[in-house]
């Protein structure tokens, strides 16, 4: 598989008064075509900011994003606009991301209009086709977003993202706001679309079950940095970073063995403020097994098996 996306040491800082919030602080990874990278972490870990910075919806403060052979930060506005055909995003709240004054047909057609693709009649046909792809009857083409359920709204958001035949989609918590049965439908749809259109996903979620189901590789993010990244099976077989371990052990599993979990292993302490980050390892304050060095020097990433990296002094 060829490399579609290369993210190198990307940083995104936000000023907060006279301090700096380091939302994304030196993230690197690659994504191959037709591959799904699951990005997991707690709220405030910088997952969404990373997704948006890759698409240049936020301007990165440092680092490089190479998409399909071109460095995005070197493109001017017009070149970027053209490039954006191939990189799309699906948001968590489908209603908030659809214009309430546009019919769903208009919303899905809009990207085609903006990119000046085909005639009005062909565009209408394409919209109908897209609606069919996401399993919404084309008879609703003139209905408005509020007339649909949350799951259907998310399908409409997916249809819009697909309109320009993208290669890469950032899925930013696309199922978190949905009911369980609808969540499963949308995930099944995303999997089907990936096969059908050879899509690559950066799939952002805080739910490890969903991440494990959909991803080929997994990246665990903590306080603006990736602390572990690797093939899905490897990460679960060897959750070398204590934070990854904590995430895994805090997810309840259906107790088919008749032994329910009544006490979970938990992390002590609160998430540190992203404005006053400690020196050394950012996880140190909550780590169950810190070493003296952890409070002083930030750990570098180490490759513990092929393509499996961990940033922890104990690895």
């Amino acid at each position: 598989m060829s490399e579609l996306l290369k993210v190198e040491d990307v940083k995104k800082y936000f000023p907060r008064g006279n301090k700096i919030l380091k939302a994304v602080d030196g993230v690197s990874f690659t994504l191959r075509s037709a591959e799904t990278l699951g990005l997991v972490g707690e709220s405030g870990s910088g997952k969404s900011t990373l997704g948006r910075t890759i698409l240049r919806l936020h301007e990165p403060d440092a680092g490089r994003v190479v998409f399909d052979g071109e460095e995005l930060s070197s493109l001017n506005k017009e070149e970027l606009r053209i490039k954006r055909r191939h990189m799309q995003i699906i948001f968590q709240d489908p209603l908030a991301s659809l214009n309430p004054q546009m019919s769903i047909g208009q919303a899905i057609e809009d990207p085609l209009v903006i990119h000046g693709i085909s005639s009005a009649r062909e565009r209408k046909e394409r919209v109908a086709e897209l609606l069919k792809i996401v399993d919404i009857s084309p008879e609703f083409i003139n209905s408005f977003p509020y007339e649909f359920s949350g799951g259907q709204q998310q399908r409409i958001g997916i249809a819009r993202a697909l309109a320009l035949n993208p290669k890469f989609i950032v899925c930013d918590e696309p199922v978190s706001a949905l009911d369980v049965s609808i969540q499963a439908q949308v995930i099944a749809l995303l999997l089907e679309l990936r096969e059908r259109f050879n899509l690559s996903y950066l799939f952002i979620a805080h739910d490890l079950g969903v991440i494990k189901y959909i991803s080929d590789r997994i990246a665990v993010m903590y306080q603006g940095q990736i602390v572990q990244i690797g093939p899905k099976e490897e990460v679960f077989k060897n959750p070398a970073h204590p934070y990854t371990q904590a995430l895994i052990s805090s997810v309840p599993k259906i107790p088919w063995n008749g032994k329910p979990t009544r006490h979970y292993k938990t992390l002590k302490g609160e998430v540190p403020s992203p404005i006053d980050l400690p020196p050394g390892c950012r996880f140190c304050s909550r780590c169950p097994i810190p070493l003296p060095i952890c409070g002083e020097i930030a750990p570098e990433g180490k490759e513990i098996s092929t393509g499996h990296w961990v940033a922890c002094h104990r690895s």
């Binding site: 369980v180 079950g209 052990s249 329910p260 609160e270």
Partner: protein, 325 residues
């Protein structure tokens, strides 16, 4: 021994300009002392309304049409307002999903916590303060002595939820109703809160009703599980019986849709369709339009809740592969 709480044939309807929503449409269950009951369902299934009705905390356009909720020998639904106030917060307390909107933003945390025991004349103000401080420490608020004087906005989401739990516990109630207590929280905080509830339950011997859409969580936390759909109970059983012999096609679909860490190699087989329109629910079994095993009778006749195993109740004409009795 009589159960602590016995809900019988509860109906709560909401009157809207566009029609009547039968949010809770005839549900019954018992809860024993020290038992944990999970009410599982998707949004709109009536799981929250079913417990809010008991404490008469439903909106003005809602009406309890029928039924009883006998708590410790008293029917909560027939009590007058004053009598009910002697029970709320003292005998039965609630933990809500969103701790920001359920704590008063204008009062300091400590003062809010002291209010229930003072109001119920259980403790003097010195004792109430001591108890509030003790509980804040017990639920793991760091620097609880100074945090006692903080306002809710100065707490993180997880700390607010812990403060709410501490507040719900301060009168040592016999029943705690937790309405999606961990949905708004991060996974690592969620497990802290679940541990805390479990410890408190064991220490104080309370009963808990946990309302959630998360089947994995409920199946670990609860002794008994009720699955609701469109205002009705679809299935009810002890958790272990439920897991070993789940009967209702909706419950089975819900479990299939639950992505926990073990479901990796299973092919996802979601329930088709969407939850029903609350004003015009389907005829017969409310799940039938989405059910893969539906037969003509399912659209015509509402299935009764019938016994499908040891203390295992199911509302389906064909549950468990068997044919209607």
């Amino acid at each position: 021994m009589a159960p602590l709480l016995s809900v019988k044939n509860l109906h709560t309807y909401f009157y809207r300009p566009d029609g009547v929503v039968k949010a809770v449409d005839g549900i019954s269950y018992d809860l024993e002392v020290g038992e944990t009951l999970g009410i599982v369902g998707e949004s709109g299934s009536g799981k929250s309304v079913s417990v809010l009705s008991m404490l008469r905390l439903i909106r003005k356009n809602g009406r309890i049409e029928e039924g009883e909720a006998v708590f410790d020998g008293q029917d909560l639904l027939t009590l007058d307002k004053e009598e009910l106030r002697t029970i709320r917060g003292k005998e039965i307390s609630m933990i809500f999903q969103d701790p920001m909107t359920s704590l008063n933003p204008t009062f300091r945390i400590g003062r809010q916590m002291m209010e229930p025991p003072l109001w119920h004349n259980l403790l003097g103000s010195q004792e109430a303060r001591q108890k509030a401080l003790h509980l804040l420490e017990r639920v793991g608020i760091p620097e609880h002595k100074s945090r006692f004087f903080d306002y809710p906005f100065q707490f993180s989401g997880g700390m607010r939820q812990r403060a709410m739990i501490a507040m719900a516990l301060i009168c040592e109630p016999r029943l705690i109703i937790a309405d999606e207590p961990t949905t708004a929280l991060d996974v690592t905080v969620r497990s802290q809160i679940l541990n805390l509830l479990q410890e408190m339950k064991e220490a104080l011997g309370m009963s808990i009703i946990m309302i959630t859409h998360d089947f994995s969580m409920a199946s670990n936390f609860c002794d008994q599980i009720i699955v609701m759909y469109a205002g009705k109970i679809m299935e009810k059983a002890s958790t272990m019986e439920f897991l070993s012999n789940c009967l209702h096609p909706y419950s089975q679909g819900l479990i299939r849709s639950t992505l926990d860490l073990d479901t990796m190699d299973v092919k996802l087989n979601p329930i088709p369709g969407s939850p029903p329109n609350p004003i015009y629910p389907p005829s017969g079994c409310r799940f039938h339009p989405r059910c893969e095993r539906r037969q003509p009778i399912c659209a015509e006749e509402i299935p009764a809740l019938r016994e499908g195993g040891a203390d295992h109740w199911v509302s389906c004409h064909f549950a468990g592969g068997g044919v209607k009795k």
